[in-house]
Structure formats: structure tokens, C-alpha cells
């Protein structure tokens, strides 16, 4: 995972202004290229059948199928896929659900501006990442 070439990212987020902001941030912080984006789970699942990004950013609250379920399906199809969950919920149960679904990291929206670059790098480096205020899931 240490290729010098630009690393790629796919963004699943229903709010367009947030999608753009994540994209810009990742590009500036870590030199990521956005391969594409989707505004709901079904769209993302279909699009990712043909793409192989280094990292997928998934918002928990999506219209219809939620981020956890999407993560579970994506990881089931491609076990090596690295999924970073973006969420507004600080509750531990959310974090545990995310990890159980197969995500490799959990970033709070309130902390995303400062942490997204570091989070992406950590997860791509093979470790788990939790933004500072996230309660660590039990059992890990």
C-alpha cells in the first residue's frame, strides 16, 4: 500500500456539499484522487463492482439502506476493501456496529476536518483508526 502513485478513494455520502468537501479535503491532505462517489447504498454497491479504490468513505446515515449494511455487503464481496465510516453519532454502539460490519475506522463528522487525512493514511497503512472523541469499541 505504499505506492507512490496517487491513492484512490470512493465517497458514499448523500449531501452533495459534504461529498465535495470530503473530496477536496482528501486531495489536499493526502493527495488522494477521487475515483467517484455515490449518494446512496445501492448506487455505491453497483459502482464499486467495477472500481477498486484504495479506500471507501461511507456515511452512516444514508437514505434507505444505511452505511453499516452497505459496508457489510462491500466487505463480503471484497474482503480487502478498506472502509472508513463517517458518522455524527458518538455512541459506542454505533462504533461497535461499524467494526462488526467490517469497517477499519470511524471518524466523527465534528472532527473530520482535522482528522480525515490521518484517518485515511492509518487505515491504508493496515491499522484501525478512531477519531479522538470516538469511544473505543469493547473487545479490541
Amino acid at each position: 500500500m505504499t505506492q507512490a502513485a496517487a491513492r484512490t478513494v470512493f465517497i458514499v455520502e448523500d449531501a452533495p456539499e459534504m461529498r465535495d468537501a470530503y473530496e477536496m479535503l482528501l486531495e489536499m491532505e493526502g493527495g488522494y484522487d477521487a475515483l467517484g462517489s455515490a449518494e446512496d447504498a445501492a448506487q455505491a454497491y453497483d459502482a464499486l463492482a467495477a472500481l477498486a479504490p484504495d479506500l471507501v468513505l461511507v456515511d452512516v446515515s444514508l437514505p434507505g439502506e444505511d452505511g453499516f449494511s452497505l459496508t457489510r455487503r462491500l466487505v463480503a464481496r471484497a474482503p480487502k476493501l478498506r472502509v472508513l465510516i463517517v458518522s455524527g453519532h458518538v455512541d459506542r454502539s454505533y462504533v461497535e456496529d461499524a467494526m462488526a460490519a467490517g469497517a477499519r475506522g470511524y471518524v466523527l463528522k465534528s472532527e473530520i476536518a482535522e482528522c480525515l487525512g490521518e484517518a485515511a493514511d492509518t487505515v491504508l497503512g493496515g491499522a484501525l483508526y478512531f477519531s479522538p472523541s470516538v469511544p473505543r469499541p469493547s473487545g479490541r
Binding site: E17, M18, L25, M28, E29, G88, A113, E114
Partner: protein
Amino acid sequence: MKATPEIFRLFVVGADDARRQRYADRLHALLPHLRILEAETLAQAMPGVPRAFERTLSAPSILLDSPPTLPGDGIVMPLLYVPAGPLQEMPAGVFDVLPEGDGAAEWEGMLNASIHRLIAYFRLYERLQKERQGRLAQEARLQKYLLAAGRNAGASAPASPADGADLAEAAQERLRKAAHDLRSPLNAVIGYGDLLREDLEDKGLDDLAADAFKIRRVGKRLLKTIDALVEPLVDDGTETDADALSGHLATPEAPRAAPLRPSTSADAPAAGATPRTATSKPAVPDLEVDFEAEEEDRVTNVLVVDDDDELRGLMARFLEGEGFTAHVARNGREGIASAREIHPDAITLDVHMPEMDGWSVLDALKSDDELASIPVIMLTGRGNERMAARALRTGVDDYLIKGDMTALGLRRAVEGVLEKDRLRRQVDRTQRALVSANEALRGFADTLEQRVDEQTLQLRGLASSLTLAEQRERQRISQVLHDNLQQVLYGINLRVHLFKQKTTKHTPDWDEAAQLEELGEMGDLLQKAIHMTRTLTVELSPPALRKEGLGEVMEWLAAQMHNLHNLKVDVETRGSCRVPLREMRVLLFQLVRELLFNVAKHADVERAKVILEEVGDDLRIRVEDDGQGFDVAAMKARASTRTEGGLGLSGMEERLSLFRGHLDIQSAPGEGTRTLIEVPCEALGGSPETPATQTATVA
């Protein structure tokens, strides 16, 4: 939540000084319009009240220590219990419980809401306590009264010191003098009358002699009346035993008191002469205990049953001479027959009679329910005292020895048994009165107990439904905040961050035009956030609720319904329909909103109608639609478990009933829905100048 003109007091009770101080400070900051008082124990929060009601809290209180086990008086105390640690179980007798908080805004909000509920409850608590105190006071009054009544029945108990003792003394003195002044000339009249009678008899003018005899009789009766008036005072023993067997003399005498009139009658005109009864009867409303009402001037009938013609005639004459009305019977059978016919007040009965002796007559009298209570005086011969003793054991009231018969002796015996009988009947009446008063009291206590229980139950249910409703509303607000407002704020935050990064790193193309464009977009997002908060604020507390007229509130609600749920609501207001009490306004608003919400969601119609009208001073609201209609019971069940927010319909109905208002829903599938809400005028808040009723509004 606005501060109200009324200064409400609130106790913070706890032994831990630091913790109590912390709460007091926090409350003071949170609720500046309340007066926060501190106390170490609950007892200190119950100052200055009479012992009997010592458990009355003088202000709603926040209790920081575990509540004492309170002896149940059935009234839940206005206590908000904030346990230091985790709560094991809900303590009894406490209105509400709040977990120890960290001072976070959310917790403070809960504290605030709890306190307002507590204050609202305190009003009811005060009323319940007042009712209870009224009951206790009435019990005490009745107790006192019954004691007094019991004393009067005993008659020999000392007179209770009356307030107007001096006054009574003076009245007695006047009466004593008047009685004396009357008695002397009256005795002269009687004496001369008797002399006249004797002279006339001697001359064989028996017709005239009978008239002269009447003079004596009437005079004697008059004398008795005077004696009765001054009854307790005449016991001076200045009696002359001149009335010998011959019965010929009528010397002036001061007869011993022998009242035929009831001495305990409270209606006695001579109130001064019987002070203990006239002044010791307290007024007890509702409990009628009528003690006495024997007619004052009624004739006292005495039946003489004797086979001896001479003795019988003599006794009859004695009795007549003493102011009684004598009836005679020559044997037992005749005696019983005549007793049945005239129901005499007393009977004298000769033991030795042929055919049917006195004992048989006595048996017959005592086994007849109608006659059993008539007092009987047995007449026995000299030397038969043993028999006399037997007589007394077998239900005879007194006995006389034939040989000792005098007019005075006979009179005393008759008056004695009459007095005994009167007392016995009075004791019976008193006992009956006691029993029925006791029953009444018990019934009264039961009813009150039951009402308190019902109200407590109702309150508990209400408190929990309020809590549930509040929880639902919180959940809804939380969701609105998270799903909408927070997302926008996160976005703005992110873009500010990016703006900074791009500017510091001198990103290519990040020129003034790009920056201005980005700033414009951020401004738009801010506008969006502001709009969201404004909508939320209005939803939480409709501005129209500040006005007293319910019509405006409903118009606003109609507009909301149209915007949010596409339901066109026609509002018709007949009369001013003012509801000065804000709490009631909010309740009615919530009720109608809930009803309209149900129409929008379930009725499948585009229109609904709200009619406000004044019926007399009461307010009537009708909410009508021509939609699908529904099964009322099923809808209520659904409404109570709804999670969309707002108060459940059943909870609101309950709250309305606390204000003596009521709600009636008529609907059936396919027939539309007609809902009628009625609120009595006193629940609307009367004049707007009564701020006392306007606190504790959780809007």
C-alpha cells in the same frame, strides 16, 4: 420559559452541605425567579404548621437524601428526589425522581421541566392537604361534641366552664329571685283554694268543691313550671313534710326540684338556668344529633292498677292533686287493656290482686313491645320489703309500701321513675346518635380516603404519561437536530477548514474569485442553518400561544397543518374565546393539534373544521372531518403508544379532566369524526390579572 410575577419558593433539602449548596447555586442560576431555600432535613421544610398537620410541606422541595419512610396519609408529597447514587427502586410518597446530573445542558433541561411539574403539582397538593385538614378539624369538632353529649347524658357530670359563666350567673340570680317572688303568692293561692274546697265539701257542695280542687291542681302545675325553670338552684332542702296521708293540707312549700321538663333541652327558654347544655352544644354541621324534644306542657298520665277501691281512689286524688292526670283500673286485666289504650307515662301496680296478680300484669307489660318501656311502680304491703327487692330485680322501677303512702311519697316515686325513664331514653338516643355519628364519620373518612387514592393514582398516571410524552418529544427534537441542523453545521465547519488550508498552502486557482464563491456558499449554508433553528423554535413554542384568544392560536395551527401536512383547516370562532390561563391554552392547542394530526394521517381527507364557541361562560371546541372515521377505542390505544411526538391523546384527555373539562370523540369507520372538547369557565383562567395561576407552564 418566562419568569412570572409570582415568587415561588423551592426548598433544597439535604444533609451534605457541599452538595446542597451546589444544587442551590445551580437552581438559582437556572430559575432566577424562584426563591431557593435550603434545609438539612425535610422537617425543616415543614415549619410553622400545627402538630396535627406536621407533615405538610410548605413549598415544593428537592430532596437530595433518601426519603424517610413516610407514614401514608395518602397524599404524595411535592418532592423531587435526586438520589446521590443509582436509584434502587422508586420510593413511595415522592412525586418525581431525577438522576444525579452532571450539570450538562440536557440534564438541566430535565431538572427545569421536573421542577415545573413539581410546582404545578404543589397546587394540587396544597388543595389536598387543605381538604385533609378540613376533615381532621371536623373530626376533632365532632369528637368534642360527642364528648359533650356524653357528659350531658350522664347529667351528674360537672358543668363545663362556659365562656359566659358570669353572664349565666347573673341570669340565674335574676331567675332565682323571680321564682321566689312567684312561689309565695302562688302557694297562698293553692292554700286558700284548698281551704275553700274543704269548706265546700263540708257543706256538701261537691260541685263547687271540685272547682276549688281545680284551683289547687292548676296552682300546683304552675308551681312545677316555676321549679323547672330554676331547677338546679332549688335543691335547698327547705321542704316541709306537711303533705300527710290525709292530704288535707296545702301549706306553702318549696317543693324539691323534680323537673318534668328535660333539663338538657337546648331549646329551653331558661337558657341561663341550664348553662351547661345551653352553652356546651357546639354547632356541628351535617351531623344532626337531636337530643330532646319532650313537650313542655303535656299532660303526664299515670295509670293506677289496684283492686282496693279506697286506696285506688286515694292515689288517684293524690296524683291529680300533684298535677298528674290519673287513670284507674280495678284489676290486672283492666290495667293491661287501659295501658294499651292510653299509653300512660307511668303505672302503679298493686302486687296483691285476685285473678291476675301484679307479677302477671308486670310480665304481660314487659313482654309487650309497645308497653315494655313504661316505668312501673309496684305497691306492696308493709313487711313485704323482700318482695319489693324482687320487684326491683325484675324490671320494676320503684316500689311503695302501702302503709306509708303519702301524696308526696307518691309524687316523688312517680317523678323519680319518670326522670329515670327520661334519662334512659336520653342515653339511648345519645348512644344512637353516637353510633350514627361514628358511622357517618367513618363513611366520610372512607370517601375522602378513596378520593385521595383516586387522585393520587390519576396523578401518577398523568406524571408518567407526561414523562413519556416528554421523552417522545425529546427524541423527535434530537432527531431534527441531528439529521438536519448538525449536518449543515458539519459542512460549514469542514469548508471553513478547507478555506484555511487552501489559503495557507496557496493552492493554485485559489484566487479571490474562488474565495468569494466559497464564502458565498458558506453563507448560504449558514442561512439554511438559521432557517432550521427558526422553524424548530416556532414548532416548539408557537408564537400565537402568547395571545389569549384561542382563535388566533387555531388560525396559526391551521396554517401549520396546511404547510406541513397539506390539510386545509377551516377555523370558525364564535365569541372572543379567550383563554387567559396559558397552561390551558397550551393544552387545548396540543389537543387540537393531535386531533388534526390524526385527521391528516388517517382520515384521508383534505379538509377539516375547527369550531370555537362560548356556551355561557364555558368554552366548547369542535373538531370535525368527513373522512374515513375509525374505531375510537383502537385509535386511543394507538395514540397512547405513538412516537411521533407531542402528548398522547389519552394523556391530554386525562389532563383535561383534571381541569374538569372533557373530551368526547364520535366516529365510526366510513362516517367521519366529530370531536367535542368542553372546558368549564373556571378552568379557562378567569381574569388575566391572576398571575398565581399562570406559573408552571411548560410550553
